[in-house]
């Protein structure tokens, strides 16, 4: 599929109509009395790009941690293609096709750009344990194929020329892209992006928005993106969920979200919450309607 075609379609015109593949029902996660996520509901449809927004501490990262099996929900069910995934170890969930990036970059620090991506290919498609140990003839062929595939994923993010560099020597924006390349290397159907534009300027964010759109089309991905940057969310997402205090307070198209008084209240606070002092900490916060 050409990227030009995708670029021309505006987010609002794409109504998600695929099959629901990732479902969450009444999912909750409590940390010693603090309800980080409560009664969370999700019907993620095949091929859609869903945005999840909300003030800091609203439960967005907890949501990703619960979906990927890094945290176990304290209540509720999560199914992926109809299969219950609560309680599966993170590597099994990743192998089923759910990949993520991290808000705070977590590359494999001591390794090269290429090896970061190779590591994420897991043992799938590569030589097996005993095959590797005894260096069976099939082993070299498989390893070469894996390396080529890793290079393809680097090329998709424009990082192919940097494959030999140490991962942590890359500029910040490139490290973020490498995280996406690494997530793609797990060959996911669902990609969870945790604040991919954090620390980027307006131009870099615009480029990243286009890049995510291209990857979405090229790899046939379903994407969930958590982001504070409203320009990225509003341009990219067909549907948005707004979280506050662990609960979904609003859900709809970008146009609906922009006009929703509950969202504006969650971001700016009513007089009451401002007086609580709970909502005034986040100086860089953008109101959804503000940037577009």
């Amino acid at each position: 599929m050409s990227s030009g075609l995708v670029a021309e379609t505006t987010a609002d015109s794409l109504v998600p109509n695929g099959e629901p593949i990732l479902r969450a029902a009444r999912v909750g996660r409590a940390f010693r009395g603090l309800q980080a996520l409560a009664d969370y509901e999700l019907d993620l449809r095949q091929g859609e790009i869903l945005g999840v927004i909300g003030p800091n501490g609203a439960g967005k990262s907890t949501l990703f941690n619960v979906i990927t099996g890094f945290l176990r929900p304290t209540s509720g069910r999560i199914t992926f293609h109809g299969r219950e995934i609560v309680g599966l170890p993170p590597d099994k969930i990743a192998a089923l096709g759910i990949a993520r990036t991290f808000q705070n970059i977590r590359l494999f620090a001591g390794m090269s750009v290429l090896d970061n991506v190779r590591a994420a290919q897991g043992m799938r498609g590569g030589a097996g344990f005993w095959e590797t140990i005894i260096s069976a003839p099939s082993f070299l062929r498989k390893e070469r194929a894996m390396e080529e595939r890793a290079m393809d994923h680097l090329a998709a993010l424009g990082l192919a020329d940097l494959h030999g560099a140490a991962a942590t020597s890359l500029p910040y924006g490139f490290q973020r892209k490498l995280e996406i390349a690494r997530a793609l290397a797990t060959e996911p159907t669902v990609l969870l992006l945790d604040e991919p534009a954090a620390g980027m300027n307006a131009q870099e964010t615009a480029d990243l928005t286009q890049l995510i759109r291209d990857l979405h089309a090229r790899f046939g991905l379903t994407v969930v993106v958590v982001e504070h940057d409203m320009s990225l969310i509003m341009r990219l997402c067909q549907r948005i969920q707004v979280l506050n205090y662990g609960r979904v307070i609003a859900s709809g198209t970008p146009a609906e979200i922009r006009a929703d008084p509950r969202v504006i209240e969650a971001y700016l606070g009513t007089d009451e919450t401002v007086n609580d002092g709970l909502q005034t900490q986040d100086a860089g916060r953008q109101v959804p309607g503000e940037s577009l």
């Binding site: 590597d91 977590r106 390794m111 090896d115 590591a119 897991g122 043992m123 590569g126 590797t132 997530a183």
Partner: protein, 298 residues
Amino acid sequence: MNFGQFGQQFVNGLSLGSIYALVAIGLAMIFGILRLINFAHGEVLMLGAFATYFYARSGLPFLVVAVLAVLTTVVIGLVMERVAYRPTRGAPDVALLLTSLGVSIALQNAAVLAFSAQPRKFPTPRLIEQQVDLGAGVQISGTNLVTVGVALALMAGLTLFVTRTQLGVSMRATAENVTAAQLMGINITTVIVAAFVIGSVMAGVAGILWGARVGRIEPLMGFIPVLKAFVATVIGGFGSIPGAVLGAYILGFGEIFLVAWLPDALTSYRDAFVFTALILVLLVRPQGILGSTEPEKI
């Protein structure tokens, strides 16, 4: 010291360092992934030497005996992982440390019961016991030559494995960041099992080489090599495999040349010098020579 003596001591230090390196690699590898200091690694070495001793009675060629002995240590390593370390995975570091000390003591005493504490003569093949004349007055023992050759070959193999293979790359990724590795679909158990297999191969080979070097074997023989290897990994930077190898060679050369240069009256203090070196390293550079000081980001 003339050139001939220097050459001899150099090869001797290289050989001792090679054995320490083989043991230290296993320690560093398992620590890197599990944060476990596996003191029972020395008992894997000891059991490798005893397996060689018993298999050699069958009259099979020594190379076949050695391969069978190494396979035996692999099985021992796998059982150890399954029985002792898998159930304690994720436990606090102190619990892991105590578990490994417990496994070590249990295996030592099981060996005393099974084989008796009596030292036995190690069946070193006559072929490699001979002296080799390298010319210029340098005479070295065949054992040292074989030790250095075998160790370098194994380390070259390991380097290829961790840089070129999918499993090797997965192992390095897991050592870097277990959480991220798991979330990228890496099965941690496979990686840990692989680390124990590789560590046990190295320790088994080290047991055979140590037996050939010392000439006799006994159930407590694993303690000193594993302690020295531990010092080597600390000097080099704990968890770093190249660091462990570097530390092992520094230790090997240091010990041999200390003994060669010190007056006879002081040579029995060689271990005291080793541990003094350890204390100095910990004071001056606690992260080790190749260890990183990068704080963990949260």
